[in-house]
Symmetry: D3
Subunit: 208 residues, 6 copies
């Protein structure tokens, strides 16, 4: 039977696309399904383990918050497996500003503290807001605007998981104000006042 085992092993081991997993070769060219697979013979258990989420992110910034992602770019073992994870740290009054993940739904689990979180549906612009305490879970459907805010008195920590190895992250403020989109086009397409636009462009490093 030893022979048989070897035979099966042989049948499947000479190839870099496995039914089992496809650890990302990040340096090569990606494609719509993700990254190319590393040869299974080069893969070790450490490709399936990510150790960066045990430490708090640095929240000494103007949002008093930090996101530490374990997306496919940081954690190549999730390539092709349909999920990824990240850590949120929110100092008191910290906020992950209004944002979307263009390609994934999100589930948030509160590990410590309290987090007020909400999302807005496209259906009648209904708002779904809740203050979550330790152990609570909230789901944010794919592509919809949502935010997380620590209105408690201690640091809040959450684990967030996504339905894609590469969920993307589009923070509305950064999309509007942290680039060279002309103030004229931005104002016409958002109805924001010129003063407001210029003020936030200055804070976020935008030009135009």
């Amino acid at each position: 039977m030893l022979l048989l085992v070897c035979l099966f092993a042989l049948l499947f081991s000479s190839s870099s696309h496995a039914a089992d997993f496809c650890v990302a070769k990040l340096k090569g060219a990606g494609n719509p399904a993700g990254y190319a697979c590393r040869m299974p013979s080069k893969v070790t258990v450490d490709d399936f383990v990510f150790t960066g989420l045990g430490v708090a992110g640095n929240t000494t910034n103007i949002i008093s918050a930090a996101v530490t992602p374990a997306f496919v770019q940081q954690f190549p073992g999730v390539n092709g497996l349909g999920l990824s994870i990240a850590r949120l740290d929110l100092a008191p009054a910290g906020v992950i500003p209004m944002h979307t993940h263009p390609g994934a739904s999100e589930v948030l689990f509160v590990v410590q503290g309290k987090i007020t979180a909400g999302f807005i549906s496209s259906l009648a612009n209904t708002v779904y807001v809740k203050t979550l305490k330790k152990g609570d879970v909230m789901v944010f459907p794919r592509g919809l605007l949502h935010f997380q805010l620590n209105d408690g008195e201690i640091n809040a920590v959450a684990v967030v998981s996504f339905s894609d190895p590469d969920p993307g992250l589009q923070i509305t403020d950064f999309a509007f104000f942290a680039n060279n989109l002309s103030s004229e086009l931005l104002e016409k397409s958002t109805f924001l006042d010129d003063a407001q636009v210029k003020k936030l462009k200055k804070v976020l490093g935008g030009t135009g």
Copy 2:
């Protein structure tokens, strides 16, 4: 052979899920894959034809623009087929404000006039803007913020197609200002000034 034809027809006609198509029963309960299928025997060619896009939408509103959708809710023949379509009308200075489609990519084809359109990537918040003339096409990747603006002197018309029968539409201004999301939470999660928030809530009918 007639018999054979009949036999094949029989094999497949007694059932409401067809390999071929699945015209939506909009009144029943939907599910993550779309709507239940109407019985093929009840389906006629008119279920596959939509006639509402030949007429300009009414642009006498404050955005000087109109969207006429032929999504699955209006055009049940596209249910389960992975695409849908709509018509855009933009009077001079008209604008489809910054928005996303949570579940679909979009291709815009300019039928008449000139349209300045743009989208913003989540990757470094890069802006991709272009002024399109009659016959030009632009693609807006799924879930990313984008806008369309008529900065020409005549009415502009475009046909837009989507990669989903039910693409959704989340206009950022409506999501922020046209509901009961409290000004406090909104300001904290967008860094917009209180005066700006209140001004736009008033215009768009928001409360809180």
Copy 3:
């Protein structure tokens, strides 16, 4: 906060598979999900714009018709985004002969003139035919035989969109008569007469 923006940008910009988009490198090897992505830093707005559809295709041929595709091979920006587009020109009496798209559904929008279009279901071989006028839309479910015909008196123009960046196009006449499939096999598998087969092979350049 500037720092934070930069940080986010950094996190995601060093890689050629983006959550946002994946502009095709057409020269490399494709795979079942599409083409490899170009590095985002090499991508410009022009990769998302296609300008070839503003001009009528040349209809001085025996079908008096032209198809101008903006599929992924011509329009690399749609790679991985689940849709594509094309322009149809039909001179009076012009026809896009019976054909299928092996991998996509199609929505047709009549921009000018009148088009009689139809498809045939596999379910009892039911025919769905309609004469469409300017502004009308018709959907052709994936993989089913369909045709478009200008029985009006002026040139007809349509925009067609597909549920795949690479929908394929199999025109039955070309598949039967424009290659080296032996007349014997073709006649046995279609019940067409030998004279008919030889006549159309001659017109369409087939041998065998």
Copy 4:
């Protein structure tokens, strides 16, 4: 531990959508993903077993051939599982005429006799033909025209499997000639001669 087992069983047994399987309720309304699931408590092993393929189909018809499908309509256990199966019987000179499966690829395995099979790509209309003997396998990519022919001297039998529970089947001859599509439209969209069209309409029961 007994308790624990019961607990797990309880957690998952009160619901008709199971991660495991979803045996079709064929009488209810289908939807784009297939049919509704029967309650697992009503499911028995016989829902996963199909016994109709052991017997030769009746080939005393003008194509000297028979297809016995075990698609979801006949074999509800495959609902949602992404595959199905059928039996082909081909008497000498029997043929499964040119056809497509709009929604599935096919693999054919020759159980008995010899079968000449072929498909035509949309890419340059290339023909791929081969005479297969007992034990040979051929794959026909989704949506492409293909045929199977017994040019041997004994009955041929094949097992064909599909990449979908509901692959559909569109036989070109039936689509063209076995319905009420007007001869005029058919001739314009296929370039077939009027005599040819009328002859085959007569054989296959078509009108118009």
Copy 5:
């Protein structure tokens, strides 16, 4: 503009399949894509929040472990969104025995304590084992055998997320020994000794 907002709301609110989300009606019949959607007007924020994971599961059982799922059956808000979550509690020496999730990959995040976890590839039966400490993450590719074990001295807690709302859970021991599969068939298909089989059937409540 108020009118416009209302118009958009109207367009999309009269239907129970939304682009945005599809909260499960658990009592109706499921289908391969999940459960039918509740009407959006009946949905509240509490449908998107799950509060059961803040409390430790009861580990006073023979595996000294507990799984508290927030799968679609317990947490209907994740229906159709491609992910779900659960809590693991492992007392010292507690174990989640060898198991698979037939339809999902898993990411485990250690909230407290130490967990030794491993999976086995089908490729040459390679073992990937690691002892994880607080904050570490490990991914278990879909369908592969894996286990989790607390070999530390304090209770261990983990949050596990899945790439499907309904991942399923097949514990090998329960599948082998906690049902009426005959000992004869089980022994022939596993090479386990009769005494071993009977011993574990007794512990786990199996018959046959």
Copy 6:
């Protein structure tokens, strides 16, 4: 019209990702969607034909059984097409031991002899077992434990098809006993006795 045919051919032939098919380049790096495509110009009919299944596999081994796969690694023509096939040979008393396919459902067709087959659901660990005779078909849902056994008196042969070009194969005995997973971890995670573990590790070549 010849020109037109050539034009279409040209449009689509210069690229290695075709809508039609994607024959695998097995030597290059795979990715989550499968293998890169060979250039269509290098593809011949033999890429779509597999001839290895006509001959019985060698069953003179301790399981008295053989699996001859035509998965993508052996049969590159199925790459990206969503299915594959294999041949089972079972001498009298031969067995394909308890196993799963992590990424595919399976349909088994009995070509010769009798096969007792079964699978176990995760739902309450229900067993579905049946003795199949020539011509019978059984479906094994994706990811669930199943086995096949010849309890007849002649050799049994079956054709099995899968819903994926690369279904994977995890035989529980090999996963447990044919590698270097430590006996201690294995015993803790399976409740098997040390003697049983050591006995089977010896038979199957495991260490630790």
